[in-house]
Amino acid sequence: MVALSDEEVQHVARLARVALSTSERDQLRGQLSDILAYAEQVGEVAAEDVPPTSHPYPLVNVDRADDPRPSLDREAVLSQAPRAEQQRFRVPRILGEAPDGEEA
């Protein structure tokens, strides 16, 4: 039986990049615990030798030729941006390094 702690809810919310209010966290804690308890039924089936299925229809080797096609019109792309500057997408200052650590 799963019972999520508030810390776990906060951790998952951080991973999922969702800012949750205290009341939302409280409500979700109960709901997620119930849903996970239900979903845990998958563990009641012995399936050690069973391979997992990630694709419902078996296909392999789908690829494409290396032929360029026109890109989108840049103005059209940038016109959708919540904020753009110097033909680029503008975001507030970034706190953390990317996991790959590169500083473009």
Binding site: V18, D34, L36, A39, Y57, A76, L95
Partner: protein
């Protein structure tokens, strides 16, 4: 018998009327737009009506017909498009605040195919936010109501398209089905809804929910219309790597073959299940008897792992969704809620942009994929998926089609289940095995319960079993003759 009101005609009759000059696409389109105008205030099926484009397209079709130029197979048939398919130049919201203001710079492949078929797109329909839900109450833009009773849900997530077709606002509808989202609203709205084999209809331009489960499919008032729409949208697409390369099976020639000699497997555990309403069970049992009367051989089948399909689905779909919905972060398009840092801006945008059900599923999926839980949840769910597929494969080795109720109940009241996510999820309990296995399935109206609400029978077939699926459905439809009740719809609308 044949009404002159084009909104009352099915696609086949409409096309026949165009062919012999009794109708024009323009007049039919105007009639549908007028009906939307009159009824949609009460019904709430459409998020956006693209009337001008629809009329211009209709006028063009009439002109081309006059000039004897080639026309697509759905030329002039008015259609309601779920607002989860990208339409170039027309906003696409997925029923979410998150995408408010976003206008796609490209068309979904299905939309291209619909245009090539010359279907008239009347507008974009309401849906549960990002297709997560079974009632269309999870739309950020308000619920859609059921044409059979305005205080009832139309089902979901394709509730807008299903209600529009059920209420004669549109002849055909496009829905998407990740875990019953076409079949369940079809059952609730008394129409036909079909989910094709995974990979037969391109997902390019379909905003992803559960990528390994999502399929686009038809909603219609007759099996024949659903078949026609299925044939128009199915086909290989090089832009979707999961698209099946072989030509999709054609079904039109199977619609009048009857069922004599077919083996029909009844999923006994579904039909006799505890949560199934008496009215639903009774109508489905009668329908199964009709199969037998029509010459099919009816046998019971067991799907031993079917009771684990829904828990597996509620791990796999949210897991994929948690990743698919990561792209909504306020950087490139759609909503942004500002913040002092990029991290904070993203977290606030996602907090305000997503509704409660979407947040719930993102949280479940994130948890199921996270370090330490992956094996117990996601991986185990994918193994259960294998077991469900094997169960179905075993059943199809012996049967041509399987049948069960489409849903445990008929349409329920608006607000009845919003506070109980698990109760809501149980709507999809009979639907999800076909999504997990990627096999085709269809919901067919087979009568009414004691409250006069439509009951849907689910018919399922193996991979690429569309011909036998439509064959069985058409035979039953011809025999039982379910008629969508325009009077009920109009009374409901008038009473509102």
């Amino acid at each position: 018998m044949a009404s002159s009101d084009p909104t009352r005609l099915d696609a086949a009759s409409l096309l026949a009327a165009y062919a012999d000059g009794r109708q024009t696409a323009e007049a039919a389109t105007r009639a549908h737009l007028a009906r939307i105008d009159a009824t949609d205030g009460a019904l709430g099926a459409f998020l956006r009506v693209t009337g001008e484009d629809a009329l211009a397209h209709a006028v063009d079709i009439d002109r081309r017909r006059e000039e004897g130029r080639p026309l697509g197979p759905l030329a002039g048939v008015p259609l309601a498009l779920k607002d989860i398919l990208a339409t170039r130049g027309t906003p696409t919201t997925c029923g979410s605040r998150m995408l408010e203001g976003w206008t796609p710079p490209y068309d979904a492949t299905v939309v291209e195919r619909l245009r090539a078929a010359d279907a008239i797109v009347l507008g974009k329909t309401n849906m549960d936010e990002f297709a997560m839900g079974s009632s269309t109450e999870n739309s950020a833009f308000g619920p859609t109501r059921n044409p059979w009773g305005l205080d009832l849900v139309p089902g979901g997530s394709s509730g807008g398209s299903a209600a529009a077709v059920g209420a004669f606002q549109a002849t055909l509808g496009i829905g998407t089905d990740t875990g019953g989202s076409i079949r369940q609203p079809a059952a609730f709205c008394g129409i036909v809804g079909m989910k094709p084999t995974y990979g037969l209809v391109s997902r390019y331009g379909l905003v992803a929910f559960g990528s390994s489960l999502d399929q686009v499919g038809p909603l219609a008032r007759t099996v024949g219309d659903a078949a026609r729409l299925y044939e128009a949208i199915a086909g290989h697409d090089p832009r979707d790597a999961t698209s099946i390369h072989e030509a999709p099976p054609t079904v039109a020639d199977r619609l009048d073959r009857g069922v004599a000699g077919l083996r029909v497997g009844v999923v006994r555990s579904f039909l006799d299940g505890d949560g199934v309403d008496a009215g639903v069970r009774a109508r489905c049992a009668e329908a199964i008897e009709r199969f037998e009367a029509l010459g099919a051989e009816v046998v019971d089948v067991a799907l031993p792992h079917a009771d684990r399909a829904l828990p597996a689905y509620y791990l796999i779909a949210p897991s994929e969704a948690s990743s698919n919905l990561s792209r909504f972060d306020g950087v490139r398009y759609g909503l942004r809620v500002d913040g002092p840092t990029a991290e904070e801006m993203m977290a606030r945008t996602r907090a305000e942009g997503f509704g409660p059900e979407v947040k719930r599923r993102i949280m479940i999926g994130t948890y199921a994929l996270s370090a330490g839980y992956y094996d117990a949840y996601y991986l185990q769910a994918q193994k259960v998926r294998t077991l469900v597929q094997r169960d179905l494969a075993t059943a199809y080795a012996d049967c041509d089609v399987l049948v069960s109720p489409a849903t445990p109940s008929t349409a329920f009241g608006i607000g009845d289940k919003v506070d109980d996510p698990l109760a809501m999820y149980l709507n999809d309990v009979f639907a999800v095995p076909s999504n997990l296995a990627g096999t085709p399935a269809l919901s067919l109206p087979v009568g009414h319960d004691a409250d006069g609400l439509p009951v849907g029978l689910q018919i399922m077939a193996p991979h690429l079993g569309e011909p036998v699926l439509f064959q069985a459905a058409a035979a039953l439809e011809a025999d039982m003759g379910f008629e969508a009740a325009p009077a009920a719809v109009d009374a409901a609308v008038a009473a509102s």
